[in-house]
Symmetry: C2
Subunit: 296 residues, 2 copies
């Protein structure tokens, strides 16, 4: 599927912004900066950045507010950090990422650990910078919410539960919780942060939270579907990798048809959550559909 | 040497606060929380936390302001994260830390990577929380300054340069810069953050920056001196470990006597920077002297 022109423009703007960001990072640890750039500028879909910008545009009444691009960049840096660390030999031990060598292969393991560490730091540093917003309360709130999304009850906690699940047989509910933490929390942060930055009303903020919770779960089910029947070349990592390790996947636990049906229903619910905002929320709806129709 | 009663009380308060903090962290990733607690509650000197509280007390006119203990805890979490990752096999490959198994030995490597990651996240989350200060501008500023101290021009960048120095022969200036980044930046953050939190004047803030820059360098020289002639049991890690690897140490580059003399001069300069504040700055002076007279 083709995303709307506004979302494609957002993707391009984020790429440009990230490229400038890594150009501008000061020395003397140039090798570290290069590894961070490599890990971030790798052809990702920028789903999270697009969520930030589309939600900010909706909240901002059709215009993306100044500074929202920094929030989008921060989310992409945080996401890139998580991928670098997930790929490490002690974690998921994946040599490739999006069809190219993983950071610890292209550089080395120590550099990859530090690149992930410094990308996390950079994400928080970006959010705290006045460039994001003149309102320090908004900046502090975004930092706090990113910390919640990335920490023990979010992404890092979810990755821990995922590693523990390798040696157990998690139930569907346990997998749902684990994925909501590991993947869902940052997707939810992206949409809500865009709304908060754009000055969303309480009702829009709540709707963005509902929308992105459903989207996040659908996104992960779609990932498991891609993993099940995906083409390794399109995906950029060996297909079936997770299943081989006996991790609980939605496809295994729900069955193929039920997983597909659930993803479709979740996206419908995500779209419905934004019904009161009519056509102004069309970009977010298109992003939601893209999340389950993508090929990689 | 014995630290003043007020500093010893600060140390105890930080220990209690950290213990309560880890007790209160929510599930379901309990194993991860346990590894974070293990890595943080390990008998450290709490130098950085004491700097936060002593500087906050000086800035606050003799009283530690409410919320400063959270800043102290955040710095200790950030420091604990750096030690966990530094000890990893791909980094300094150290099996022990303060005489007990390093986090990746007590748990496993994947858990240690995640524990470090989540401790970094926790540090930023703590600083963004309104418990630190009702003034969001102070919280956002502390987040931004911690990101600078921890990132590519600070701790992570310094660790990268340190790893690169293993295969080169760094000059004294290069080692000084590397250590200012790797160790100095977080020590400087601690003192300045305490001042900022306590409402320090511009002149006190500048003096705290001068004081802690000198202290940080002296601290690292003292570390190299301990490494050179230290007792492995007292230090809790194999003595001479860094020297064996051919890393640039101040002792090797300056000579033993010059290193000792420089550390003494730096601490004298650190004490002098606080001269205008008279006896009110005695705690900070005692901490500075402790940094070079410690046995571990």
């Amino acid at each position: 599927m083709i995303l709307p022109a506004s979302v494609r423009a957002d993707t391009a703007a984020v790429e440009d912004h990230l490229a400038s960001l890594f150009e501008s990072l000061p020395g003397p640890a140039e090798h570290l900066v290069e590894s961070m750039r490599y890990a971030t500028m790798n052809g990702g879909k920028r789903l999270r950045a697009c969520l930030v910008l589309a939600a900010a545009r909706l909240a901002g009444g059709g215009q993306v507010p100044d500074g929202a691009i920094h929030v989008a960049a921060a989310v992409e840096c945080l996401h890139a950090y998580s991928l670098v660390h997930d790929d490490l030999p002690a974690m998921d031990d994946s040599d490739t990422r999006r069809g190219i060598p993983a950071c610890h292969i292209a550089f080395d393991e120590a550099t990859a650990i530090l690149a992930g560490d410094a990308l996390q730091t950079l994400a928080f540093g970006i959010l705290a910078d006045p460039g994001v917003s003149q309102d320090a309360a908004i900046r502090a709130r975004l930092v706090g919410e990113l910390a919640t999304a990335a920490g023990i009850t979010g992404m890092a906690g979810g990755q821990m539960l995922d590693l523990e699940a390798e040696s157990s047989s998690p139930s569907l509910d346990e997998v749902r919780q684990m994925q909501a933490m590991k993947t869902g929390a940052l997707i939810q942060f992206a949409a809500v942060a865009g709304g908060v930055h754009g000055g969303a009303s309480a009702s829009l903020e709540a709707a963005l939270a509902d929308y992105s919770r459903d989207l996040g779960l659908a996104f992960q089910i779609a990932d498991d579907l891609l993993d099940y029947d995906g083409d390794a070349a399109a995906l950029g990592k060996p297909a079936g990798q997770d299943a081989e390790r006996g991790k609980g996947s939605f496809v295994v636990l729900m069955g193929l048809d039920a997983a597909r049906q659930t993803a479709v229903e979740l996206i419908a619910a995500a779209e419905t959550a934004l019904a009161p905002w009519g056509a102004a929320a069309d970009d977010l709806r298109a992003i939601a559909r893209f999340a389950i129709e993508r090929r990689s």
